[in-house]
């Protein structure tokens, strides 16, 4: 229930983000960057597409005709994900996967898949950051220059921040699987995503959507304290 609420909320936010994005992406004179050969949505159809997205997201979140609403949501999100390079985003891709799992799999399978999905996301995110560009802190510069004081924008500050991010993601990939480490994993995960939302200015909505979706995945492991193997929330079923 909690998982679906959080994933549904993330889809709702993504729908609002996509509405604003399409308004600019489909403005007259702009150049389309088709991604998978799908026809570009006419501008007049945008309110209908976003309306369907938001409507399905609300129905999915509250559990009204959950599978049908989820299938509609997946179709709308999937189309816009693949329509244009400018409407594709990694967090939208992740949301499509999460909705697919929640619509298609039974409760027990969905819980397992969501848990493994969490580990896959963080493990690959951490591995992808093992490079000089990221570890030097240079990759963080465009995101932090407007929120951190000028004197902090140095390699001595940004490089440890980059390393800390990598270590946190590496820990989160495995930490949730241990009952002993789970409370710490919750704390690190919430800190990481709240920190990212606070630090990033350009694309903050995307970071927020990603964070909400990931906390939805945390919920597949149950609460932070004293709940065994999925806990009370998990036992009620994920969808």
């Amino acid at each position: 229930m909690l998982i679906r609420l959080l994933v549904g909320a993330a889809c709702l936010l993504a729908g609002l983000e996509m509405g604003a994005l399409l308004d600019r992406a489909l403005a007259p004179g702009t150049i389309a960057l088709p991604l998978a050969g799908l026809p570009i949505l006419p501008r007049a159809a945008v309110p209908w597409a976003i309306g369907a997205w938001i409507g399905c997201a609300i129905a999915f979140t509250v559990g009204w005709r959950r599978r049908l609403a989820g299938a509609g949501l997946l179709a709308t999100m999937g189309y816009l994900l693949l329509m244009d390079a400018r409407t594709y985003s990694n967090h939208l891709y992740l949301l499509c996967l999460l909705v697919l799992i929640l619509v298609w799999a039974d409760d027990e399978t969905a819980r397992t898949l969501l848990r493994v999905q969490l580990s896959i996301v963080y493990a690959y995110a951490a591995i992808g950051k093992v490079n000089v560009s990221f570890l030097s802190g240079a990759a963080l510069l465009p995101y932090t220059r407007t929120v951190l004081p000028e004197s902090w924008l140095r390699v001595e500050v940004l490089a440890p921040l980059a390393l800390l991010t990598l270590l946190a993601e590496g820990f989160l990939a495995v930490g949730f699987w241990s009952e002993r480490l789970r409370p710490l994993a919750w704390a690190v995960g919430l800190g990481l995503h709240l920190g990212a939302v606070a630090l990033v200015q350009e694309g903050r909505m995307g970071v927020l959507i990603f964070g909400v979706a990931m906390v939805g995945l945390y919920a597949s492991f149950g609460g932070a304290f004293g709940q065994r193997d999925g806990g009370a929330a998990g036992q009620r079923g994920v969808g």
Partner: protein, 113 residues
């Protein structure tokens, strides 16, 4: 029970479609990275920080118009860093005659399609 046994038990408890899903999820990033590394080798890589402004010319003697990329963060920033890929992608669009990338504090580079 050891971690390996638990892992094996969990794997066997999954329906085949769920196992296929997980295999795809594990394999896809590796495939994408492999493709990415090939791109890396033949693209003109430059660390634009922040991303360059992009202009397109629709006629040989026409002006360069600034392109609204909408979302330069993330994958499009990556595409711009691999500017060769991005230019090629833009050149495929009908009515694009030339592309100009203007990185901050650097001379703009023009690419004729």
């Amino acid at each position: 029970m050891s971690a390996v046994s638990r892992l094996r038990q969990g794997w066997l408890a999954l329906p085949p479609s769920a196992r296929l899903y997980l295999v795809c999820q594990l394999a896809l990033p590796i495939v994408a990275w492999t493709a990415g590394s090939q791109r890396f080798s033949w693209a003109m890589y430059s660390q634009f920080q922040p991303a360059p402004e992009v202009f397109v010319q629709r006629h040989p003697d026409g002006p360069f118009e600034k392109l609204d990329l909408v979302r330069v963060l993330g994958h499009l920033r990556g595409e711009l860093d691999y500017s060769g890929i991005f230019v090629r992608q833009l050149c495929k669009q009908p009515g694009v005659h030339a592309v100009r990338l203007a990185p901050p504090q650097q001379s703009p580079a023009d690419y004729r399609c």
